[in-house]
Each structure stands twice: as structure tokens, then as C-alpha cells.
């Protein structure tokens, strides 16, 4: 049995189609992330799961029952909103118990639940305040509390952390992860933040233009992106895309990268079967910045090239340097200690084991 199954969901507003056939299924206790740039349809999809909007066609199942035509209140879900949407005229206690009250849960049980949730989220001493008297982080907790109190079969989160400042966001992220592991609930979580997606999710659905581009566990998506969009969307700084021509050499398939200070040979070791057809043709090579580092560190399948450095950015733990290969800016992640000056050359090591090749016309990965 799936905890949530979305079958062929389409949605259009007037002439514009915002969801074009969505199919997703997750198991109970899984944490699904819907991620994508704004306008990709992820929030609409979440609203359709919640029943706040009706799908134009398709089916939604929660647990064993179809909920496509049910109103939100009959779907057994809880939702946390980006703006928290706390009821301004009610105290925190009332906010949390409102859903229970409407469902005619006995008074005593309501009190107990509010207490339990408040303890869990450490908001006991806020219970009698009004939302206007709370800080952003406190409001966020109350919003979570309101969802937790209901103990639904699915939690829906709509960018719940995006209104918090950076530090608080990291804290809350960790807390949510821990909470999820503790209560083992099923979650659908919308975000445009790829770090949240990577850290929180059991499964990620990367969306663009109303289509799920790729669906799978975070690490799989990270390492084996299906297309250039997914590859570029996850990871920060994002993956380097370098145009190159596939060549057949004695040591196998590979490509040459032309830099300011010399030629670097990149052997292509994945999907060689498929790549054979591309010999002599142009492809786009995807290399993540952390796969290009200062030379001495690496072992194994490493190619070393000397590159001219055009830009240097320090992030603290490491440094990002920009060089130019095949007339494209390429970012490398290096240790600050081995840093050189702008304009100088530096020996960089390329970990070629993770390189992905894309069809420049379709932007699909060549597999």
C-alpha cells in the first residue's frame, strides 16, 4: 500500500497548463520533497494533494482511498504554510486545538494533545499569546504544532522555512529531520532550496514546467541526473557544463578540454556503450565543482591540468576558483591553503569518475 499515490494529474488555469501528467507514489513514513524553481508547479501540486485546488484530470490516493473529489477536511492531512497562516484572532493554544475542536475531539483530549505538542516543540510558555506577539521562529513552531496536533496520515509542508533567517533555517531543518525520524510520519515537502531537498528528503521529485524531471533518492539524483536541468538545479555551486567533442583514443573514449594553459584529456568511463555513437560529435560534459580540486589531493582516476585562474571566492572551509575551459567558465572547489592569485596558473585535478555527458540538443543525459 502506498501512503500517497498521484496518478496522471493534469492541471490548467485557463489556457496555461501548469501540471502535465504527474505520477508519484511514496510509501508510509517516507519524506518526499517536491523541488524546482518558482513556477514549476510544485505548490500547485501540493495544493491539489491537499484538496485546496481541484485537478483538471487525474487521481489522488491517500492510503487505500481515492481522495480526488474530497474536500481538504476529509483527506486526513495537515499542512504547514510558508506564511504559517496562524489565525490572528486566536491564541496559540486555540490555533493548535482549532482543528481538533472542529473534528469534535473531546475537550480533555484536546488539552492533552496541545500539551504534548507544545512540549515536543518547546512552546509551552507561548500557549496564551497571540500570533502577533511571536517571533518568526516561534510562529513557525506553532504552525508545526498545529499540524502535529492533528496526527494526520500525511503532513504537507509548503516552503515552511523560507521566511526564516539563515541560522534559524539550519536549526529548524535539523529539528525537522529529527522530528521526522522520531514520529516516522509521511511527509510531502515543497521547497525551492536544493540543500533542504538534499538534507531532508528520502525521495526527491525535481519539477520543471509542470513535469517531474526526475524522481528518486537524493544521492541518486545528485550523482546521476537525468538531464541538464536536474544536474544544474541540485548542488551549489551548480554543476559545470563544458561543451566538448567525444573522441576515440587508445585509452578509450574521452574528450579534450582546451584551457588557457594547455589541453586536458578527460576519459569518459560511464555509459561507454551509448557514447560510442557520439564519437566525433559535440556533447556537454557535466562536472561538479567538488570534482575539480587542487591536484595533489587526488588519487585514482585523476587527470591533472594546469589552468589559468580568473576569479577566486573564499567561502570559509574551502575556496571556489574560476577558470576557463573550452570557452566556458568552470568553477573548482579547492582548499584555501593551496590557493593562488588571480591571473596565475594552478594545477587542478579532475575526478573523472563522476562525469556525466549530455546531448546538447535535448539536454538529456546520454545513457
Amino acid at each position: 500500500m502506498h501512503a500517497l499515490k498521484i496518478e496522471n494529474v493534469y492541471k490548467s488555469f485557463g489556457d496555461t497548463e501548469v501540471l502535465k501528467g504527474i505520477n508519484v507514489a511514496i510509501e508510509p513514513g517516507q519524506f518526499l520533497i517536491l523541488v524546482g524553481p518558482s513556477g514549476c508547479g510544485k505548490s500547485t501540486l501540493l495544493n491539489i494533494i491537499a484538496g485546496l485546488e481541484a485537478a483538471t484530470s487525474g487521481h489522488i490516493y491517500i492510503g487505500e482511498r481515492e481522495v480526488t473529489n474530497l474536500s481538504p477536511k476529509d483527506r486526513d492531512i495537515a499542512m504547514v504554510f510558508q506564511s504559517y497562516a496562524l489565525y490572528p484572532n486566536m491564541s496559540v493554544r486555540k490555533n493548535i486545538s482549532f482543528g481538533l475542536e472542529i473534528r469534535k475531539v473531546p475537550k480533555a483530549e484536546q488539552r492533552e494533545t496541545v500539551q504534548r505538542v507544545a512540549t515536543m516543540l518547546q512552546i509551552e510558555d507561548l500557549l496564551d499569546r497571540k500570533p502577533s506577539q511571536l517571533s518568526g521562529g516561534q510562529r513557525q513552531r506553532v504552525a508545526m504544532g498545529r499540524a502535529l496536533a492533528r496526527d494526520p496520515s500525511i503532513f504537507l509542508f509548503d516552503e515552511p522555512l523560507s521566511n526564516l533567517d539563515a541560522k534559524l533555517r539550519v536549526e529548524m531543518r535539523a529539528e525537522m529531520k529529527e522530528l521526522h525520524q522520531r514520529i516516522q510520519s509521511t511527509v510531502v515537502y515543497v521547497t525551492h532550496d536544493q540543500i533542504e531537498a538534499m538534507t531532508l528528503g528520502d525521495l526527491i521529485a525535481v519539477m520543471k514546467d509542470g513535469i517531474i524531471q526526475q524522481f528518486g533518492p537524493p544521492q541518486v539524483i545528485y550523482n546521476a541526473p537525468k538531464n541538464m536541468f536536474v544536474a544544474g538545479f541540485l548542488g551549489s555551486p551548480s554543476m559545470n557544463f563544458i561543451p566538448a567533442v567525444v573522441e576515440q583514443t587508445e585509452s578509450g573514449l574521452g574528450a579534450f578540454l582546451e584551457g588557457g594553459a594547455g589541453r586536458i584529456f578527460i576519459p569518459l568511463v560511464h555509459c561507454t556503450q551509448a557514447l560510442k555513437a557520439w564519437v566525433g560529435k559535440a556533447v556537454v560534459l557535466g562536472i561538479r565543482p567538488e570534482q575539480i580540486t587542487h591536484a595533489p589531493e587526488h588519487e585514482g582516476r585523476i587527470q591533472i591540468g594546469v589552468c589559468r585562474i580568473n576569479r577566486v571566492e573564499l567561502t570559509g572551509p574551502d575556496a571556489l576558483v574560476t577558470t576557463c575551459l573550452n570557452k566556458t567558465d568552470v568553477i573548482a572547489r579547492v582548499q584555501p591553503s593551496s590557493l593562488c592569485q588571480v591571473g596565475e596558473t594552478m594545477a587542478l585535478g579532475f575526478d573523472t569518475s563522476m562525469i556525466v555527458a549530455f546531448d546538447p540538443a535535448t539536454e538529456e543525459a546520454i545513457v
Partner: protein, 289 residues
């Protein structure tokens, strides 16, 4: 330097207060004249200055206007009509405000295809000259069997007041985030529960605006009042008109003025008492396009 700034500041203040007071006089003169006139005996009005204080102030005119001025074959003043107006205004204001609130709620939180067009059409509708609707409305009221009754009058006022109350509430509710009502829907609340438990508790500022506006409009209305009310149910404006518009006989200006003030008293009180909330209510969102 500091001194110069201080002097400039003081001059600025002086300018502000000067302007405000001057304009206040412009606003107050007509009221002053009305009150003074109502307190003067008739011969003093004929001889004295319009703006002069009464030499022998008397409340006689007020007494006459309230209790014994002629408004037809009966000479019982305005007191009966006063209550006619109250019985008409209260339901009309309550109903039109309620409908306006429901409409505003739907138009912002439960939009559907065509709801904006409907709103635009409704807004355009408030520009229809009321003279145009007199006859067709009369026929409709006759058809519904409520012509010449308080119910009919309330009906008319509600219909032509809804456009404005809807405008007020819509512009207010547009600022309530959709997420709030969505959260309530997820929590299990339906259309009405959300309205009464979430939206309505946020509404007092705009309710004040709507009530003041409707109250003034309906209380002061003459045209509908005169056309759609039957003899003994006429609202106070019609009685005032009968009292002031003498076709024969000596014009009793003091009584006219006292009557005019009596007729305007409830709305004046409403404005004075709730003026503060009125501006607050407007601030809270009704003026945002």
C-alpha cells in the same frame, strides 16, 4: 543653526494650525447658522443677522418640530417618522452589510471563474441613476407584493447598497492571505465555519466603515423613501420635506432648521462617535484598490 530650524519649525506649525482652523470654520459655519436659527424666535430671524447669536434663545422651535409641526393632515411633528426611519434603516443596514461581507469573502477567498467580471459589473451598477429604476422597481415591488411597505423599502435599499458594501469588504478581505483560509480548510473548517470563526473576527474595522456608510446613505435617502413608502410609514426625510416645503403659509425657518437638525441627528451622532473607528477602518484596508 538650531535656532533657525526651531523658528522654521514654529512657522510651519503655525501654518498648519492656521490652515486647519480656517478650514474648520468653513465646515462649521452652516451648522452654526442652522443651530442659531433654530434657537431664535421667528421675528428675530426676519430682522437680525444670519450669523448673530440669538437674543432670546428658545427651544420652542425644537419642540414644535419634534411634536407638533404639520407634515400633512396630521400635525404631530417628526417623532413618529423618526421611528419609521429607524425601523427601515436598521434591517437595511444589517442585511446589506451582511451580504456585502459574504460577497467580499467569496470574491477574495473563494474566487471562481467569472467572479471578477461579476464584481466589475456590480461596481459599474452603482452608477446607475436611481431615477432610472423608480418605475421598473415599482412594478417589481408590486409584483412581489411588498410595494408601499417597510419591507419593500428595505429591499430596495439593500439591493442598491450591496454594490458599495461588497466593494468595501472585498477590498478589505483581499488583504487576508489565502493561506489563512486554506489552513482553516485543512483544519477541517468549511465555508461558513471559516467565515464566522476566522474571517469575521478580523472584520470589525470594515464593518464599522460599511455600517456608517450604509446608515448615512439610507437614513438620508429621500427619493426611494418618498416613492416606495406608503402614507403612515414614510421615513423622516419625507416628513422633513413635507414640513419644510410649504406651499402656503408662513415659512417657520426656526422650525425648519430644528427639524433639519433632528433629521440629521442620528447620522451626526454616528459620525461623531465612530469617526475614529471610521478612519481606522479605512486604514485597515478598504482604501487599497
Amino acid at each position: 543653526m538650531n535656532k533657525a530650524v526651531g523658528r522654521q519649525h514654529r512657522a510651519g506649525r503655525l501654518f498648519i494650525y492656521g490652515c486647519l482652523l480656517l478650514v474648520a470654520v468653513y465646515y462649521l459655519v452652516p451648522l452654526f447658522v442652522m443651530i442659531m436659527t433654530s434657537l431664535k424666535p421667528l421675528d428675530e430671524i426676519r430682522t437680525g443677522s444670519l450669523l448673530g447669536l440669538p437674543l432670546n434663545p428658545t427651544l420652542e422651535a425644537w419642540r414644535v418640530a419634534w411634536g407638533s409641526a404639520c407634515t400633512g393632515v396630521s400635525c404631530e411633528g417628526l417623532k413618529g417618522y423618526f421611528w419609521n426611519s429607524v425601523f427601515m434603516v436598521v434591517p437595511a443596514v444589517v442585511i446589506s452589510t451582511m451580504i456585502g461581507a459574504f460577497n467580499g469573502y467569496v470574491l477574495t477567498q473563494w474566487r471562481f471563474r467569472g467572479s471578477d467580471v461579476l464584481f466589475g459589473a456590480l461596481l459599474l451598477g452603482c452608477f446607475i441613476p436611481f431615477q432610472v429604476v423608480l418605475l421598473p422597481m415599482a412594478r417589481t415591488l408590486g409584483f412581489l407584493g411588498i410595494s408601499g411597505s417597510v419591507a419593500g423599502l428595505v429591499f430596495v435599499h439593500v439591493i442598491y447598497g450591496v454594490a458599495f458594501t461588497t466593494l468595501f469588504f472585498r477590498n478589505f478581505y483581499v488583504n487576508i492571505p489565502r493561506e489563512l483560509t486554506n489552513a482553516a480548510r485543512i483544519d477541517g473548517a468549511g465555508f461558513w465555519l471559516i467565515f464566522f470563526r476566522i474571517v469575521l473576527p478580523l472584520s470589525p474595522p470594515i464593518i464599522v466603515v460599511s455600517v456608517i456608510w450604509q446608515f448615512t446613505q439610507i437614513w438620508n435617502d429621500f427619493l426611494f423613501g418618498v416613492v416606495y413608502s406608503a402614507g403612515n410609514q414614510q421615513p423622516i426625510t419625507v416628513a422633513l420635506n413635507n414640513l419644510v416645503n410649504t406651499s402656503t403659509g408662513v415659512k417657520q425657518y426656526n422650525v425648519d432648521m430644528a427639524a433639519a437638525i433632528i433629521a440629521a441627528l442620528p447620522t451626526l451622532v454616528v459620525y461623531v462617535v465612530s469617526g475614529k473607528y471610521f478612519v481606522r477602518g479605512l486604514t485597515a484596508g478598504s482604501v487599497k484598490g
